[in-house]
Symmetry: C2
Subunit: 344 residues, 2 copies
Amino acid sequence: MANRRASITDLAKTLGLSPSTISRALSNHDDVSEATKLRVRQLADELHYKPNQLAAGLRRGRSNTVGILVPHITGDFFPKVVHGIATEAAKLGFNVMICQSNEDVRQEQLNIDLLLNAQVEGILVSVANTTDNFRHFEDVRQQNIPLVFFDRVMEDFQGSNVSSVVFDDYQGAYQVVSHLIEQGCTRIAHFSGPLHLNINKYRHQAYLDALTAHGLPIDDDLMAFFELNQKNGAHAMRQLLKLRQRPDGVFSSNDLSAVGALQVVKAHRLRVPQDVAIVGFSNEMFTSLTEPMLSTVDQRSEQMGKAAVQLLQKMLKSGPKSQGPPKPIVLKPKLLIRESSQRR
Amino acid sequence: MANRRASITDLAKTLGLSPSTISRALSNHDDVSEATKLRVRQLADELHYKPNQLAAGLRRGRSNTVGILVPHITGDFFPKVVHGIATEAAKLGFNVMICQSNEDVRQEQLNIDLLLNAQVEGILVSVANTTDNFRHFEDVRQQNIPLVFFDRVMEDFQGSNVSSVVFDDYQGAYQVVSHLIEQGCTRIAHFSGPLHLNINKYRHQAYLDALTAHGLPIDDDLMAFFELNQKNGAHAMRQLLKLRQRPDGVFSSNDLSAVGALQVVKAHRLRVPQDVAIVGFSNEMFTSLTEPMLSTVDQRSEQMGKAAVQLLQKMLKSGPKSQGPPKPIVLKPKLLIRESSQRR
DNA sequence: TTGAAAGCGCTAACAG
DNA sequence: CTGTTAGCGCTTTCAA
């Protein structure tokens, strides 16, 4: 039950060759005879030889591994991004190490250390919502490890080897509101999360701008700010329906609260979209299960993961010599018009 | 812009100590004076020293890393399990490497190789649905790397260092059907996926057994086999409602098809649960968004991840000396009774 | 309490 | 085309 794994030295001894030749044969180096390569490969197969990446990495100074650091792997969004990252990374030949900060800065710091210790070649991170300083990312920058922020970025944290991939919330929201206006809505309500978060800020600003651009008035009664979930969405909708002039359209910055609104509207025997058109945001899976199916904005979360890896790859290739950091990538949203907002 | 990272040798030189002392100090070894430890730690902090895990792993013969291999990181289930794994692994001090097979045996083989190359200390795997041979797992067994199958297991693949964590589908399904009977249902339909998959087989068998145990007849008209999604669920429900004696209860082996059924029943102006009670399976997020809210079975997916890691840990600790493999873990289901099946 | 020395498995000059 | 040599950064005897 000894089970030491076969090593290059073992192969070398068995075949009466030198380790270097074995190494070269295995990596299909040009200057090894085909005959030798064949013998080596055959024996390697036989002995189930597996190259030791730890050793190779140590020697080469490259671990072949990238790190992901996300707040958590739950909900709809992060799993999708992780999926995108893992898929693209595999394609490019990287191993992927994954950590969760649990929305906690302290954890985030520890995880960054872990990844750095593991000698990852680059880090993809979406920061915890409690993160308010850069100290831990400082080390990453100092060691010149490429760093890509996605979705939740630290806007003040710049560097020659730092970049980001974000979603164009403003444009997404603007499209939604324009669409509702095109459908004939003139009193459009907005459900927004707290404005200190960028995503909410941008989406809300787009709402205001789109109304103004189309010559519609801004009405404070039509704006509700709360933690965006189903229950609160339902509650907000009930309030709106009590207004003397009820809204004829709702733009919810989140799908859950849109569902809450939808249910309330239906319960009041109003028709969606004829009486009230509703559009959510994020294209969560359940939006295609509602009746009527919910219009929403697709964030193309997997694209985000893919783009992040590609950005990293680019930074890795260009090397630290190239100065300016790669431009941030801004992913364009895609409005999905479904039954809940399609009048006609 | 040189940026070579600080190494133990660097610390040693700066402090006029030997590398061994530094190493010992950093790992808080007993026989290093507190004074020295302090100096070492201080300098390490100052230089942002990060231990090189590749080197340490190589030397120790332990990488401190476990591998996850899943079919994909999409949907509701696998992300939850991965979350459970990552959380528990972090707690136990393991790094986590993650791979996706994309339901493809060939990919699965490659990924197993990757993980083995990366010198993972153990592998947690849910096999691709195309996997029909063990060859790639053979290597894992041979190298005595602990292997834990979860959810999708290879039942014929035994070994002294192989175990599994599965969900008790039979009991979950049995509970569902018993519950429906208690609610007064006497004509209970069942939506099932293809029976060559274990999960479907067990759930269906439990359906049959529970009916029989309660003295209810088995009626072929009430059983529908199809790929479990919303559309097919709706279609199946429409067929059922055409029967002379329509069902008064539906057990769907999957939440999506249950939603499909729910929508059709409502569209026919029948009441849920009074006319037709409906129960799904898996406790997907959207089940609490429907009207009425859908009863279902919680699989405690995160528990599964946690249990898998703990099992791995146990195998790692007991070492290859202990013969018999740890007993498989069978997770108990939890029936969630919600509005769609709660009469009264 | 500290140091010297060896080596984990691999690769990459440099020689032949 | 193949071999020799050295060393990546760390840990661990063994010796002082």
